[in-house]
């Protein structure tokens, strides 16, 4: 009973903290946030969605290093429709997401025939393949030089974009959290641990992995279309292999085992370079330092740091208490 109430208390504190952070983020533009930093934060919101969608895919035991390709499909579809057909971005964005989900499900059928590291390899080839397709259709996608002056969602001011992307991120995170903590997430985790046991209890494990990839694509595409109509330029580099790897790094540095992991990882790795603008040449070194520190000292990633520190504080206290108890015990007889 005691641990139960303690758990509830900790949960309430977490919820309160999240509300404060989200409230603060919503209030920031009113508190005189610089336009430059607002720009940075919009990027953070978008990449948090992608990093978390990658973690969602990881729940079913599938690691992708070509995830940016799904962003690309959504982004390019929406951008091309809006630019060349003159449709409103508000219509093309859902279409972009829909197209990506359909493509996601279609490619998932052959891709999920392989598991684990082989799936990861296939995802890499898919990422490269999508870039090649981008070259073939350079009449619309612009090939290397990319597609520019994509219609905007809002006029040239950043504040509406800020609110839009923040709201999008909060909604996406809420849905992903719900997915993970419902039976859907439980089933995916079961499939990840043992597909043979999972199928012995009636789970159609191949379908579950297809479903997981499709849902993950949905969120990646949402981030993709938001990206396209905010940055209004898409090039070959935007969704390259590097981007996929970056997303993977955001997730792992933050801690792939925790829901807050990709959020923490993306925020830290995207905001630090902006704070150290004057030291721009050294940013790769700082990145490397962060990576190494996390790799060696934080097995749970950045998001696991509070729990780790708590353990550190608690341990000496407990050791002291045990020592004093021992002393008392020795003196007692």
């Amino acid at each position: 009973m005691h641990t139960e109430s303690l758990k509830r208390q900790r949960r309430n504190i977490t919820i309160a903290a999240i509300c404060v952070v989200v409230g603060l983020l919503f209030a920031l533009p009113q508190l005189g946030l610089s336009v430059y930093f607002m720009h940075t934060l919009i990027g953070v919101f978008i990449w948090i969605i992608v990093a978390n969608s990658l973690r969602l895919l990881g729940l079913s035991g599938q690691g992708s290093i070509g995830h940016a390709a799904f962003m690309a499909i959504g982004a390019y579809t929406s951008a091309i429709l809006a630019k060349f057909l003159g449709w409103s971005p508000w219509i093309t964005m859902p279409i972009g997401v829909l197209v990506t989900v359909v493509v996601g499900f279609l490619v998932a059928v052959p891709f999920t025939r392989v598991r684990g590291i082989y799936f990861t390899m296939v995802s890499l080839f898919f990422g490269i393949g999508v870039l090649a397709v981008n070259q073939v259709f350079n009449k619309w996608t612009g090939g290397y030089s990319g597609i520019i002056s994509i219609p905007r969602l809002f006029a040239y001011i950043k504040t509406p974009y800020y609110y839009f992307c923040l709201a999008l991120m909060v909604i996406c995170l809420l849905i992903m959290y719900r997915l993970e903590h419902s039976r859907i997430g439980l089933t995916w985790k079961a499939v990840a641990q043992s597909y043979s046991v999972a199928s012995s209890i009636g789970i159609n494990e191949a379908w579950q992995r297809i479903l997981c990839l499709g849902v993950s694509c949905f969120f990646a595409a949402i981030a993709g279309v938001a990206y396209a109509h905010y940055y209004v330029i898409l090039t070959q580099e935007t969704f390259s292999f590097n981007t996929s790897i970056n997303v993977f790094v955001y997730m792992t540095v933050g801690g792939a085992g925790l829901f807050a992991g990709p959020i923490a990882g993306t925020a830290v790795l995207l905001i630090i370079p902006e704070l150290l603008r004057d030291l721009r040449e050294y940013v790769p070194f700082i990145y490397a330092a962060i990576l190494l520190i996390v790799l060696f000292l934080m097995p749970q990633g950045l998001a696991g740091l509070p729990a780790q520190l708590w353990q550190l504080i608690k341990r000496p206290a407990r050791a002291k208490r045990m020592a004093s108890e021992k002393e008392v015990g020795e003196r007692a007889p």
Partner: protein, 253 residues
């Protein structure tokens, strides 16, 4: 007959792992499948449960042809099974293992789960309640919050059975449930099996340990993929072919 197998055959290249095996399991029985190492017992299990496809032959469950169907379809039609080696979701707790196994009955759809509908909440409450009951029955209540990989071997085996029971099967297939257990655990497991039969389930069990024969209504003995004996426990104990397979030629009196 609940389970009927006709002429089941499996070749791995030139090796014939199972050779024209026919057997049947009647409703409510406990049937033992015995044989020395490498006799093809686990292969027979995997053929029945659809993990591998037979080269020839037919498997009928409850009068329906289920040859070569996928494992999850067989689970749906009412076959629960345990595994010899990887019996668990190792990162889940004991309770989570069983709750996760309540996947088919009741079944919650994607949208129900996502939107946390009353139907979904009802299903989950039911799954939790039943899981606790099953854990109670197999004596794992005290370790329900322990991670499965940290459990002692005997408990892991029991959890495997608990998981298979969550499928609410009509036929429970146990792959060496007594493997690596000590005497107390063996007695306990056999009690559970008797209890499970009491619940109206049929059991097909693979075992090395001959103690299992005390429970069996019928026994099928195989060696090199071929049936060498079938019948009551007494028949099998006195069957010269079976004794030969287990003890070798010279020991036959």
């Amino acid at each position: 007959m609940l389970l009927d197998i006709h002429g089941l055959t499996k070749n791995f290249g030139g090796l014939i792992a199972v050779d024209h095996l026919s057997m049947s399991v009647g409703e409510g029985q406990i049937v033992g499948l015995i044989g020395p190492n490498g006799a093809g017992k686990t292969t027979v299990f995997n053929l029945i449960t659809g993990v591998i496809r037979p080269s020839a032959g037919k498997v009928e469950f409850d009068g329906k042809d289920v040859t070569g169907k996928s494992p999850h379809i067989l689970a749906k039609s009412g076959i629960g099974r345990t595994f010899q080696l990887t019996p668990l979701f190792t990162d889940f707790t004991t309770l989570e293992n069983v709750v996760a196994s309540y996947y088919l009955h009741p079944r919650s759809g994607f949208w129900d789960s996502l939107f946390n509908t009353p139907k979904y909440r009802h299903n989950e409450a039911y799954a939790l309640e039943q899981s606790l009951k099953i854990l109670d029955m197999v004596g794992l209540s005290k370790v329900k919050d322990e991670r499965a990989k940290n459990l002692p071997h005997g408990y892991q085996k029991m959890l495997g059975i608990a998981r298979a029971l969550a499928v609410q099967p009509r036929l429970l297939m146990l792959d060496e449930p007594l493997g690596g257990m000590n005497t107390d655990e063996i007695t306990f497991t056999m009690d559970i099996m008797a209890k499970v039969r009491g619940l109206g389930m049929t059991i097909l069990v693979i075992e090395h340990n001959m103690q299992i024969l005390d429970l069996c209504d019928r026994v099928v003995a195989i060696n090199f993929g071929q049936k060498i004996g079938e019948g009551s426990v007494k028949d099998i104990r006195n069957n010269p072919d079976v004794i030969k397979a287990y003890l070798g030629e010279q020991n036959v009196a």
